[in-house]
């Protein structure tokens, strides 16, 4: 039983978050960096949703009956976090497209070298 208890939303969230961090640390592709940011955000969102929520929690909507509710605050916060994620991804991607048309590369290191070369001009 202990193994099953260990696999809960909270621990999964941490693991997902660090998968994103790995992508940011190890991958040199700019698009993959943007995807990694999305993964990290997903981990954080999952963590938020796991707070104050048991296996038998119901959505926090009153309908006259009494039941165990999930915490409504994280759910409201998560909507905001999702919109932030969408906007950030959109802006990062459009910046990447603009950068790709200048540099012609998707690699961070090559882009960095391009930038230094242009500085010397």
């Amino acid at each position: 039983m202990t193994e099953i208890n260990f696999i809960n939303a909270q621990n999964t969230a941490i693991v997902i978050f660090f998968i994103g961090v790995y992508g940011l640390c190890a991958r040199r592709n700019i698009i993959k960096a943007i995807i990694s940011l999305g993964i990290m955000g997903g981990g954080a969102i999952l963590f938020f949703l796991s707070v104050n929520r048991g296996p038998d929690s119901m959505p926090p909507i009153f309908n006259g009956d009494s039941f165990v509710m999930a915490d409504p605050l994280p759910q409201a916060l998560v909507i905001t976090a999702i919109v932030i994620g969408v906007s950030v991804t959109a802006v990062a991607l459009i910046m990447f497209i603009a950068m790709y048309h200048k540099y012609g590369t998707t690699n961070w290191l090559k882009a960095m070298r391009h930038r230094i070369e242009r500085e010397d001009e």
Binding site: F48, M95, W108
Partner: protein, 531 residues
């Protein structure tokens, strides 16, 4: 009520300016800035007389809603925000890039900065910081030239990653405390039984904030973002003079929040000293004017951090005062650097010569700012550095402060080379607005130095006095450092490869992410050991 005005008037005006397709409307923004300045002074006086105010938005219970809190520190920061933005608009009103879109972004950024200084809710701070990060990235890339694209991209990705760390830390905080309000969490901090549970959230939050304030391993994005060649100089002013203070302000608030249960001042003190030293060493080796100034921002932030964490009231208020002083003189330096760059057409410090003869007025003001940043007697930097040093009297920290100051002096001796030498003799005409902005800032440098004690007792309800004898001793140390710096630079350093050819610590995104991880695990381990 007045707090809402600071937040919503700039946003709504900015959006309207964006919608109206007439370029002249931009002038309205300048009038708005005057109004905000007056309002912020009124607000400051009100807060100073009546004590801090706290409003919960929509008149709900504090636990359920979002609260805005304004004490003297945030009121002063609001005043600083209004002042720096006013100067920026005065400086750049006639420039070509000042179109409606730019003003929209700029005014929105001002409102968001003010929210960060006012908000009492951690999640609200997260949202606002994300919005402002996007705006800053767009402003960095505003001219869309090829170098700034890389800088803006790097800025965006690193800062968003840091804020995701912050978000996860918030999740932990909410799980433990059941609330997101800073003051409620601060009050509950006393009741915590097993303080080790705080190690993780603290490390996550501090990694996010540490990158925002460019602590030691995490500063690699800052010089590029603050000194992008093509960004308008007023953007550099806002970033280096003001926006980076949001990070420090968050640091102050979060540190205060955790203080009852978790105190890690010693570790941050060491980080501050190292940040200060690394900052000036890298600044010395730069050739680009803006780069030099950007690296000095890192160094000065280290000094602020030393002041905040060194312990003792004097050092703390010295650190806070240095925050304001740094905003004034660094903004002035960036403004005059902008003028020099646009008139000379180059940013290379070895190629610019004879500035003093061509624009004596601007040069004079720049020298005032340089005296301020190096801590010359009677100028503003000296007062705050005096307080920080008197708080940590004796011991290794004082020597570290003197060392950082010496390094700053050496670096600015290199910087001042451009004033002298033979260049073309004719004067260069400078707009009235630019002159007015630079003059006001220069006078502020001198005034905040002359009335340093008045400023500090005005800002915080705390009487301080300067020991004249001690101050003269500090002045002597300054002149000795000046001489030593001059000699070292001309005798030894000038010919070294390090100074001549320049050296750049370039970390790619992977490097920054790895150092972020290292910082995170270091803070977590340290917190775990201390508790």
């Amino acid at each position: 009520m007045i707090l809402y005005a600071f937040i919503f008037i700039p946003i709504i005006t900015g959006t309207l300016i964006y919608l109206i397709p007439w370029k002249g409307i931009v002038k309205v923004a300048f009038g708005l800035q005057m109004g905000l300045m007056a309002l912020s002074i009124y607000n400051f006086v009100y807060i100073r007389l009546n004590g801090p105010i706290e409003v919960v938005i929509g008149n709900f219970a504090k636990i359920a809603g979002i609260s805005l809190r304004c004490d003297t520190l945030s009121a002063t920061l609001l005043m600083l925000t209004a002042f720096i933005f006013l100067m920026c608009f005065l400086f750049g009103l006639m420039d070509k890039f000042m179109n409606n879109l730019f003003v929209f972004f700029f005014l929105t950024l001002q409102a968001l900065t003010m929210v960060i200084f006012l908000s009492g809710d951690l999640f609200n701070i997260y949202v606002v910081t994300e919005v402002s990060t996007i705006i800053v990235a767009v402003l960095i890339m505003f001219k869309k030239d090829s170098r700034s694209l890389y800088d803006g991209m790097l800025y965006l990705i690193t800062n968003i990653a840091a804020m995701t760390f912050f978000l996860l830390g918030l999740g932990f905080m909410y799980k433990i405390f059941g609330s997101l309000d800073i003051s409620i969490i601060g009050a509950k901090m006393f009741d915590i039984e097993n303080a080790r549970v705080l190690a993780m959230p603290f490390a996550f939050l501090m990694t996010g904030i540490g990158l925002k304030c460019a602590f030691l391993p995490l500063f690699s994005w800052l010089p590029k973002a603050h000194a992008t060649p093509s960004a308008p100089s007023i953007v550099s002013v806002i970033l280096s003079g003001l926006y980076v203070k949001c990070g420090i302000y968050l640091f102050i608030r979060v540190r205060e929040m955790f203080l009852p249960a978790l105190e890690m001042d010693d570790i941050f003190l060491v980080i501050g000293i190292l940040t200060g030293i690394i900052g000036f060493i890298l600044a010395m080796s730069q050739k680009d004017i803006k780069m030099i100034l950007a690296y000095h921002t890192i160094s000065q932030l280290g000094i602020v951090l030393i002041g905040i964490t060194a312990g003792g009231e004097y050092a703390y208020y010295g650190g806070v005062l240095h925050l304001f002083n740094h905003a004034v003189f660094k903004s002035l330096l960036f403004l005059s650097a902008g003028i020099i760059i646009s008139k000379y057409g180059t940013r290379d410090i070895t190629k610019i010569r004879g500035v003093f003869r061509r624009m004596p007025y601007v040069s004079g003001m720049t020298i005032a700012a340089m005296l301020g940043i190096t801590g010359a007697p009677l100028f503003n930097g000296s007062i705050s550095k005096y307080f920080i040093q008197s708080g940590v009297k004796g011991g290794i920290i004082e020597y570290a402060m003197i060392l950082i100051n010496l390094g700053t002096i050496i670096s600015f001796i290199k910087f001042s080379q451009m004033f002298f030498g033979k260049g073309l003799a004719e004067r260069i005409h400078i707009d009235f607005g630019k002159k007015a902005a630079v003059t006001t800032m220069g006078l502020m440098c001198l005034l905040m130095g002359m009335g340093g004690t008045l400023v500090i007792s005005g800002i915080i309800n705390y009487r301080v006095s300067i020991d004249i004898l001690e101050y003269i001793k500090k002045a002597l140390v300054y002149f000795v450092s000046l001489g030593a710096g001059y000699l070292t630079y001309n005798k030894y350093l000038k010919k070294t490869k390090f100074i001549k050819e320049g050296y750049e610590l370039e970390l790619s995104i992977n490097g920054i992410a790895i150092s972020m991880m290292a910082f995170f695990i270091f803070i977590a381990a340290a917190a775990y050991v201390i508790l």
